[in-house]
Amino acid sequence: MTEVVLEARGITKRFPGVLANDNVSLSLHKGEILALLGENGAGKSTLMNVVYGLYHPDEGEVYVRGEAIQLNSPRDAIDAGIGMVHQHFQLVQPMTVCENIILGAEIVGRNGLIDIDKARRRVIDLSERYGLEVDPDAIIEELPVGVQQRVEILKALYRNAEILILDEPTAVLTPQEINDLFRVMNGLTERGHSIIFISHKLKEVLEISHRIVVMRSGHKVGETVPAEATEESLAEMMVGREVILQVPKGKAEPGKVVLSVESLSARDDAHSLAVQDVSLQVRAGEILGVAGVQGNGQTEFVEVLTGLRKVESGSFSLNGKDVTHASVRHLVEGGLAHIPENRHRYGMIDSFPLSENLVLNTYQHEPFSRHGIRDYEAIAENANQLVQEFDVRTPGISTLAGTLSGGNQQKLVVARELGREIHLLIAAQPTRGVDVGSIEFIHSQIVAQRDRGVAVLLVSAELDEIMSLSDRIAVMYEGRIIDTLDATRATREQIGLLMAGVKNGATR
């Protein structure tokens, strides 16, 4: 095996109340792609932030090419040849690609000002050498995320990074962009760079990495190579028990139309048309999946259907009644359940206890309210029952919702929304930021609702989620539904192309 370029020895990092890394060791070889696999909160990002000098470990040391180094800030990591592409891009939006790349490592000319021409030449040179196509004078905010990611990688290469840490790089990309990224990653390792690839997506890890390290709740729980691993074995390592990745699901038996949308258009916060002329129907007992790269109007579409956003034109009806201008309360009473994509903003109140969060949409009715006075006994009883039924792991029902883990918060939202009589479920990114164990549970709940005769509209940027749950798949691109497919016949490639706006070989 080739030389070890990076080694972390016995890293321990504590946060108040949490042991984020417990004596974790890890080594990276030259020219290797090492996947760091684990659920959200397993400690992957913490470990990488330690290696990049953003966190100071309580114990343990980092070695680069055999030498122990002191990492007090990212500057030290950069000097040691470590570059990191963060999950949330660290790019200054109104500046150009070139300015972002040189920031912090500017070339100053003889007149004391930045020698932008020289910098631009270096950027062009690097982008050609590594096949990272990008216009140095483009403004960041005008670029698609895939290109922004290239800028992040160039930023690291510009600083002569030998070791690249990519934190969840595929989370925001289309399947085509992911292929491009993998091509770039392979090109980098051929030129002697070494890569740590952080992910929780099993397929990708098996496809791209040379070696896989699995973490769970702050510990390193296993190490393997793709040839000896399967998705199932990796998932089991990640979660610590056997996991059913594919939710068992029978054939759909669609009934009457529950949600009917007629040429609906809506504007986003910047007043541009985000949803354009969308028509679709969801029947009782079926799951319609809406696939699409984030930011193609799904958020606004869901907001309109749940009464949170004004309609520009068009209409939609629930159980045959027009509800285009109905209030949220009216929709909820009409049998709508909404699992919002941003649970902190729309799904729950962090500073309220579980029990009160569980009656946010029913508090005004019997038995929770009698003559305008709340009945706390009934509210508590309801909470105890739902917490048990939906497997919300919590110290008690008076615990504040904000203190739960992401997965349990999401199960709390699901419990409230599904714990009553409903006709339509709109689930937006229902498993974002949720651990594998909870994903499994939430998926099975969604399928159970379908089998009970609820119409389900599932909006997700995760192709796997769409593929495994949907009965029909609609693909949204630039605010329009560009095609609707039968889930049993659709292929990943087909949907991937549609997500990129390519229909029948032609770009729309």
Partner: protein, 353 residues
Amino acid sequence: MSLHEQASTTLLKIARFTSKGSVIAVILMLVAIVVVNTTSLSEGWMSLFLDTSVLNFALRAAVPLALGAMCGILCERSGIINIGIEGMILAGAFGAFVVKISTASLPLWMSLILATVAGLASGALLGLLHALLCIRFKVNQIISGTAIVTLATGLTTFLFNPSWSSSGKFSQFAIPLLSKIPALGEVIFTNGPITFITLALVIFLQVMLFRSKWGLRTRAIGEHPRAADTVGINVNKRRYINTTLGGAVAGLAGAFLVLEAVGQFTEGMSSGRGYIALAVMIFGNWSPIGAFGAALLFGYMQGLLNSLLLAGVTTFPRQFLSMLPYVVTIAVLAGFVGKTRAPAAEGEVYETE
């Protein structure tokens, strides 16, 4: 590279960060000024609008506004909102005045220079205080700025003794050759030293902000401090430096009022200029040249108002006409605020985890 080539690339570079339209507009304005003042047009109604006395007044009124706006730009581009410009101007004026009267025994030029330095230092001190409150103690930046105005107003009123008076102020001087240009020479190239410094500072800051390492880093920490941090830039250190420098520039505006414009200190003599400077900064889209243009517009409105009144053109009540500059401020802000864009991270405390 020949001299000619060098000159043309320099021009190209200037053009790169100013729009073509505004360059043409400025040239047309300058030509109009020369023509109106040197031909028979100077007898007509147009002289009312472009007379050198109106323009001189406009520039004099614009100087403190432009300096105040540049204070705002320095702070806000790095992510610190500065509502306290008014207080910093006042403190600069008072500091300059106190040193001016206590060095009255020295030669006038020396006393004036010391007083200017005192103005800069007083402003810088308040800038540092603002930075300390906002960064170290995480005080809400609007509250901190308001507190600074209250502090400066209260303290200068309390310490000021109305019997103090100073004599002598900066005199105007003419730049050789350039001051011989008809009309323009009189307006632009014959002025007091702080006015010249302001003109130079506008250009210097514009170049620095958009072409230097310091400027790139300043803009980055005002937009996305974490991005700057991850490439090894010390965000809070830079915010301290910029806010302190900003305070010094506002202090210079105060020094201008005492040492070049009025010659005396009066209570509350900043009289709202710090707030108009904020409007000027926004109108100029957080760029020094833009802000200077906006400051000139406000100064011009005041100059025009004066000449209209003097000429007796209008019998409209004076009180209403005096509102003109402020009405323009509101109109301009209402019309432009949506189109300009503030630094994204301003007002936010930056903490490393």
